[in-house]
């Protein structure tokens, strides 16, 4: 009948529109990745992958140039691990407090304040770290410079905590009420319910939150550019200056001559960064699926 076939055509058109819009985002992402790889490949004619990843010296404009990003990789890893060590407990525990323990009125105040912290521009946090925290660290710990690994980790933790807290809180909130009630019915007290039932049930969402927070820490550019110090040497102590990968790219990309070896080397650094965040996202996906509670509303 004409009526129903017209309807079918309309449905199929609408379905195809959504399909192409979805395809467009994948297409754009693919283009970016292809561009990234294309611009970075020429550097591997000049230096081998092993030399690039494990070389200790970054002198892209000297004669002959040296392109070793090992100190940058180490700096990124160290700063991310430290920032996560600070941010994960703070984030997850504050999420637990907001979701399970806080009175509704307190919750109404704390949750928006944490989200406000998330909306602080990263350059403001970097400026704060450079102008206030750095001299403070230098005076208090009697070290040579306040622009160091520790400063960068603390500032990055500042940025990661709202992300982790917000998503974990949503994950804990969506744990079914029946689970909690069953736990209380079996005689568990509040703490036992939270630590042995609710948090494990929300582990999938918490895992995602943690990984997202860590991705944010590893990719954050403005803060590490202003606060990590910029020394291209492997940091030997917590209070040594370092240069994580995003800082290296941001500092030099503007003036690297177009299509020079330096330019390609910076793109290659970008590829390493991209692969790191890609792996993080894969892990997040795996964790989220492994601990998913079937049959409940999860993230």
């Amino acid at each position: 009948m004409v009526g129903s076939s017209l309807r079918r055509i309309k449905e199929s058109i609408i379905r195809n529109i959504f399909f192409f819009i979805g395809l467009a985002s994948i297409f754009i992402l693919t283009l970016i990745v292809v561009f990234l790889f294309k611009e970075s490949l020429p550097i591997f004619k000049v230096v081998s992958i092993k030399e690039f990843l494990f070389g200790q010296y970054w002198y892209p404009t000297s004669e002959p140039p040296e392109f070793g990003i090992f100190p940058m990789i180490v700096a990124s890893v160290v700063v991310t691990i430290l920032a996560s060590a600070l941010a994960v407990p703070l984030g997850v525990l504050s999420a637990t407090y907001i979701s399970e323990i806080a009175k509704p009125r307190v919750k109404e105040i704390i949750k928006p304040v944490i989200e406000l912290l998330a909306s602080l521009p990263s350059v403001v946090i970097g400026f704060f770290g450079m102008v206030i925290v750095a001299p403070f660290l230098q005076e208090t710990f009697d070290i040579s410079t306040g622009l160091n690994v520790f400063n960068a980790s603390v500032m990055l933790a500042f940025m990661a905590v709202p992300t982790i807290s917000s998503i974990s809180e949503d994950a804990l909130h969506s744990v079914r009420r029946e689970l909690r009630e069953a736990s209380y019915a079996l005689g568990a007290n509040r703490w036992e319910t939270i630590s042995r039932v609710v948090i494990p049930a929300g582990l999938s969402g918490i895992g995602t939150a943690v990984i997202l927070g860590m991705s944010r820490a590893i990719g954050e550019t403005m803060v590490v550019l202003m606060v990590a110090g910029g020394a291209a040497a492997i940091p030997e102590s917590l209070f040594d200056a370092c240069r994580p990968m995003p800082a290296s790219i941001a500092a030099e990309m503007a003036e690297a001559p177009y299509h020079s070896d330096h330019y390609h080397a910076l793109f290659a650094t970008g590829v390493v960064l991209f692969l790191a965040t890609f792996v993080f996202n894969l892990i997040a996906d795996y964790v989220s699926n492994k601990y998913k509670q079937t049959g409940t509303a999860t993230l």
Binding site: M130, P135, Q138, S144, T145, A231, A251
Partner: protein
């Protein structure tokens, strides 16, 4: 749409097209490429020049002195900005291509070593600066100061300020990897102002009361000492043209060398010619 309205639409559209294309054909066009050190001067001067001469359109881009020279030699630019003089190889290539490069000095770049205002040092030699930046001298006590590690602050390697420092002070040696690299003159000034044991270098236009400028080989950095060449860490900045410039290119170069253009150079942190 009625036939009349459609015709009217076509007429108006074609009139606009002719006027635009005609306008473009009459406008002068100057292309400037080259050094990123000279870029701020070229950009600001181009903006001011275009306000005074609305018919001329100037396009300014960076890419480095080497790229600017290459563009001048193969004819894709009218003016090549350069933070160094033209090299022998480039001169030979230019002549072989029928290009006769003419240098116009447009400003001077002067780089000053700075320390924290509480630092008792007031003079430093070129040799000491080189030793500090290559990592041979690591403690202020080796220079007569307190027993504290020297915090070396430098610039990223693609910066023009770094180029001056590398050529005049380091003489090609590599900066120690422990040096803290900052991304701009402002960031270096800020880092030195906040750290009692730091040393850094900035363009003369960025020296303020927050930092203490050092004398080099007993010569104070100033516009006068940069111009007469007695201050060692300075260099002239050039704009190269193919032969003696004519038309809009000549007008622009004259503008840059005029008092109005030199005021722009000074505002951007460089030393004016007079």
């Amino acid at each position: 749409m009625t036939k009349l309205r459609a015709n009217l639409f076509v007429v108006v559209l074609s009139a606009l097209a002719i006027l635009t294309i005609g306008g473009l054909a009459l406008a002068g066009n100057v292309v400037i490429k080259g050094s990123t050190t000279v870029l701020p001067i070229a950009q600001k001067a181009a903006e001011e020049f275009m306000k005074l001469h609305p018919n001329v359109s100037i396009s300014v881009s960076g890419g480095g002195s080497g790229n600017g020279m290459k563009a001048l030699i193969d004819g894709s630019t009218d003016i090549a900005d350069a933070s160094r003089f033209i090299k022998d190889k480039e001169i030979k290539l230019a002549i072989a291509n029928g290009v006769f490069p003419v240098a116009h000095r447009v400003a001077l770049d002067c780089v000053v070593p700075v320390v924290h205002p509480s630092n008792s040092l007031s003079n430093i030699t070129m040799a000491q600066l080189k030793d500090i930046y290559t990592g041979k001298v690591t403690n202020w006590s080796q220079l007569g100061g307190p027993d504290k590690k020297i915090v070396v602050i430098s610039r990223d390697t693609s910066s023009g300020t770094y180029e001056v420092w590398e050529k005049k002070v380091l003489k090609g040696a590599k900066v120690t990897p422990k040096a803290l690299l900052q991304a701009s003159n402002g960031a270096v000034a800020q880092a030195v102002a906040k750290n009692k044991y730091a040393i850094g270098y900035i363009g003369i236009g960025y020296v303020s009361s927050a930092v203490k400028a050092l004398k080099v080989n007993n010569i104070t950095a100033s516009a006068a000492t940069a111009r007469n060449g007695s201050y060692p860490v300075s260099r002239p900045l050039f704009m190269f043209t193919n032969g003696w410039p004519t038309g809009d290119t000549l007008d622009f170069i004259n503008f840059v060398i005029s008092p109005a253009g030199q005021k722009i150079a000074e505002e951007e942190g460089y030393v004016p010619l007079y």
